[in-house]
């Protein structure tokens, strides 16, 4: 089975969901016209990234009656969408979130479980921590979503893999940093290395949409990628340029790679679970 995936590595307006919605719908139209099955937007694509005190003012609920999600759900009749937004739960906690929309329905909402709060990042100050990592079924098979720092920790991608995801969808707003003599930013090299590694280790597709543009002095580097189950690069968007990157992936590659390399077959989740429990008991009071 082949599916056509598009990565919308867009710039956003900071704290202006209506303006960003217009861009989402325009990209969706373009992707639909190109016969795309799934369109993935970056982290916080509807709001912009460094929201700080704007966060609570731009939250939306992924429901048909929501003015932002209404039109997106409508568009999802023609194309599956992954969009980034601020989710406000019924008790008014604010999450960095990504929603998977398909056929007018919300199939899944992921709340970012790792909020970087160090260096140039300050997410834990403004957002609540997500508390669940879960794969879900789509018309292309089982899929998992992780947002930026989520896939800097090995556990969320691992859990998604064990939970049945053959396509890992990663979204990010990765600030560019580390200018050296190389043409590639260090931050770009780091992310590409780990994405390729996940594709290899999990013999799965790793789809990554990263934004572009600037927020104050921070640049976002784009360079969105898809790696196949062999760890080979299928496509990459340009660095620092807004782009709609469209490519076809062949899900039959899962069969071929896993016939050669049965890492999933041999994965010992029971052993993993027992050892984690043992370590957790041994470390009680030391780690959470």
């Amino acid at each position: 089975m082949k599916i056509k995936i598009a990565l919308a590595q867009i710039n956003t307006r900071l704290g202006d969901p209506s303006a960003n919605l217009e861009k989402h719908l325009a990209y969706a139209q373009q992707a639909i016209q190109a016969g795309t099955d799934l369109l993935v937007f970056p982290e916080l694509s509807l709001t912009g990234y460094a929201l700080q005190d704007i966060a609570s003012a731009v939250a939306h609920q992924p429901q048909p009656e929501d003015p932002i999600f209404g039109p997106l759900l409508q568009a999802s009749q023609d194309i599956d969408l992954v969009v980034g937004f601020v989710d406000e739960d019924p008790r008014h906690r604010f999450y960095i979130a990504a929603a998977y929309l398909s056929g007018g329905e919300v199939l899944h909402v992921h709340h970012k479980v790792y909020l970087p709060t160090y260096g140039l990042f300050d997410e834990g100050r403004f957002f609540a921590w997500g508390d669940s990592v879960q794969a879900f079924d789509t018309r292309f098979g089982r899929v998992g979503i992780a947002i930026c720092e989520d896939f800097w920790h090995a556990s969320p991608p691992y859990i998604l893999w064990i939970d049945g995801a053959d396509i890992l969808i990663f979204t990010s707003a990765s600030p560019g940093r580390g200018v050296t003599q190389e043409l590639k930013l260090e931050s770009a090299r780091w992310v590409e290395q780990i994405n390729r590694a996940y594709a290899n280790l999990f013999t799965s597709f790793v789809v990554h949409a990263n934004r572009v543009g600037y927020e104050d002095g921070m640049n976002f580097w784009g360079g969105s990628t898809i790696f196949d189950p062999n760890g080979d690069l299928v496509v990459q968007g340009p660095y620092h340029e807004e782009a709609l990157v469209i490519t076809e992936i062949d899900l039959n590659q899962l069969h071929r790679t896993r016939a050669r390399l049965p890492l999933l077959r041999d994965e010992r989740t029971g052993l993993m679970q027992r050892m984690l429990e043992r370590v957790a008991v041994a470390n009680r009071g030391k780690h959470s």
Binding site: L14, D53, Q181, E182, L183, Y214, D216, G217, H240
Partner: protein, 273 residues
């Protein structure tokens, strides 16, 4: 020796994109830059001209009566090479009445007055030319506090503030700044024969090596000594960086309310754009 060299293609792309993005989203198309004839302001002019187009950049030459003629001519080279707009506003007639009012004024005070006079001229041109003031301070001088608060450090955006002086020179050479500007001894040009390195007491090449490890790579003082730096030099630079923190932050606001600007009223400048 650490290699501080940077990829010029990547750096230019990020910095010209930054200038374009941050000027246009603020509602402007143009830039105003104080062009001294030194390598820092020359590089800012080249980047702004590449980002916005030469006709959208106004270089302002603001000599004082003691400024060297070389500086003037070197600034002229940049203007000619880039085809940017320019304006000459000598500041002697503005600065001297204040300087003469206090006979025997120190060089430091005079230098500060000149730097702040130039700031007034640039911000006036910002309104007249309808452009934002693009800064010319590099990472070395910002860390060392080798600048005048509300003087040469005043600007709307600064494309070169994360480049050490060594890196400014490298990028300037690559982008086409004339070699006579890139290679000359850096000077604040406040009095005849002044050079930065004489005044600071060390070279940019030396201090950049230290700052790069201290700041970018988070070396501890003892790590720097172990890496071969003189302990007194390490202590001197660390103290200098700390004592000049006040030049790198907005004025302190005394907190009274439950929500105070700077503490718990937090928004990027790009808010809403």
């Amino acid at each position: 020796m650490s290699d501080l060299s940077i990829n010029p293609t990547l750096t230019r792309k990020i910095l010209t994109g930054f200038i374009r993005s941050e000027i246009t989203r603020a509602g402007f198309q143009r830039a105003v830059i104080g062009l001294s004839g030194g390598v820092d302001s020359a590089l800012s002019c080249y980047l702004a001209a590449e980002a916005l187009g030469p006709e959208q950049v106004l270089a302002v030459r603001m000599p004082y009566k003691t400024s060297s003629s070389d500086s003037w001519e070197h600034a002229g080279l940049v203007i000619e090479e880039l085809g940017i707009q320019f304006l000459d506003v000598p500041i002697t007639e503005m600065a001297d009445p204040l300087i003469e009012r206090f006979p025997g004024m120190s060089n430091l005070r005079q230098g500060n007055i000149m730097a702040r006079t130039r700031m007034i001229v640039l911000y006036d041109q910002s309104e007249a030319f309808n452009g934002l003031v693009v800064g010319t301070g590099n990472k070395t001088e910002i860390l060392l506090g080798y600048s005048t608060l509300y003087g040469d450090s005043a600007c709307a955006i600064n494309p070169i503030g994360d480049l050490y002086k060594t890196q400014v020179r490298q990028l300037a050479g690559d982008i086409g700044v004339p070699a006579v500007i890139v290679d000359k001894a850096p000077s604040a040009d406040l009095w005849a024969g002044q050079t930065d390195e004489d005044e600071l007491g060390f070279t940019y090449a030396e201090v950049d090596q230290l700052l790069y490890l201290l700041v970018d790579h988070r070396y501890r003082p003892e790590d720097l000594v172990e890496a071969g730096f003189d302990p007194a030099f390490v202590a001197q630079i660390i103290q200098r960086v700390r004592r000049n923190q006040f030049k790198r932050v907005l004025p302190l606001i005394a907190k009274l309310s439950n929500r105070t600007i700077g503490y718990d009223f937090l928004y990027l400048r790009d808010w809403g754009t």
